[in-house]
């Protein structure tokens, strides 16, 4: 037990070993405290240096119901009330997705109804390999894309008259900071109206990608999978959608619009 005595009296390692042997509880409590503190410091530095990472730490996908698993089991066993409870949790998200993709409320309602019905019919096939919500979104996206394909809109590849340079780089025109916090600058309902309007300025494919990634919070990989697109294709559209929407929102929230490309960007 006291083999540390073979080390020289002034050796720091001996003092540490002595502490472990003589006061093990205090020693390990201090180690735990130090480890926790280090994790906090590393995490905070990562978040502080890369502010966008904060978003990753605030999961915003529609919340699970506490009893989702038991509701699912009951619904799969034929309990229709359990299915309706599950559906009610996500129906407004599916409806918003439908509005974003199809561009109108009438089709969005069709998407919600058809997707809900398909989900109900196929519920026995749901194996729980993904969240129920992801599964429901997959069904809704397929229904909504079917509607776009019927209207021959899905293949439309234009990117809403992008202002691109010869090498394909997007050139921002509206360069002005935003005056105040947009979420405080207008009423919640007005803000939803503004967001709903500007998103319709994207072409159908771009707004579908943007909605899945930035509104419904799917990862880029999940978005690509849901739409059977390649990851680079999703990333390119996402970048342009974000820039386009930034410009549109700048018209609402910006101040001192200069409306001109500064020479440094040419």
């Amino acid at each position: 037990m006291e083999s540390y005595r073979i080390l020289p009296p002034n050796c720091a390692f001996r003092k540490v070993l002595q502490l472990v042997v003589m006061r093990p509880q205090e020693f390990f409590a201090a180690v735990r405290l130090f480890a926790n503190w280090s994790i906090c410091v590393i995490w905070w530095n990562a978040v502080r240096e890369h502010p966008p990472l904060r978003a990753l730490y605030s999961p915003k996908m529609p919340t699970h119901l506490d009893n989702e698993q038991s509701l699912l089991a009951a619904a799969q066993a034929g309990d229709s009330d359990a299915f309706v409870t599950l559906l009610n949790q996500y129906s407004r998200h599916i409806y918003r997705l439908g509005v974003s993709i199809t561009g109108n409320h009438h089709d969005a309602e069709d998407v919600l109804q058809e997707a809900s019905l398909k989900a109900y019919t196929a519920l026995a096939e749901f194996r729980g390999n993904s969240r129920f919500y992801t599964w429901l979104v997959r069904i809704a996206v397929n229904v909504a894309l079917g509607k776009l394909r019927k209207r021959a809109l899905w293949k439309e590849s234009s990117l809403d008259e992008p202002r691109e340079s010869e090498d394909g780089t997007y050139i921002p025109l509206e360069i002005e900071s935003w005056g105040e916090d947009p979420e405080e600058a207008c009423l919640k309902s007005d803000l939803q109206q503004v967001l709903s309007e500007v998103i319709q300025k994207l072409d159908p494919k771009s707004r579908t990608i943007f909605t899945l990634r930035d509104v419904e919070k799917f990862s880029i990989e999940e978005t690509a999978k849901l739409l059977s697109l390649s990851i680079p294709a999703v990333k390119t559209r996402l970048l342009r959608s974000r820039l386009k929407l930034r410009e549109e929102l700048t018209k609402y929230f910006g101040k001192d619009a200069r409306n001109a490309m500064p020479t440094s960007h040419r």
Partner: protein
């Protein structure tokens, strides 16, 4: 890094998917380019504002028709 490269990398930067070396280059550029700083900041705000906005409640008439559809479906299934 030039302004155009910054614009090309905004998405990866905001998603935290940019190589650390490129992050340092991009941030060095932002230190002395106000225009790019504004574009990055307002793009970030754009993503955040959509990200944090909850969907409006389902319109009452839409909810009513959805419930009606299922009520009829369940009623038809009952005799089975």
């Amino acid at each position: 890094m030039r302004c155009r490269q910054v614009i090309d990398k905004i998405s990866d930067y905001l998603d935290g998917e940019l190589d650390p070396e490129l992050v340092r280059e991009l941030e060095r550029h932002l230190e002395h380019c106000e225009d790019c700083r504004i574009v990055v900041d307002t793009t970030h705000k754009t993503v955040e504002i959509f990200y944090h906005t909850e969907p409006a409640a389902l319109p009452e008439d839409v909810r009513g028709r959805l419930n009606q559809m299922f009520t009829q479906k369940f009623r038809k299934e009952e005799p089975r």
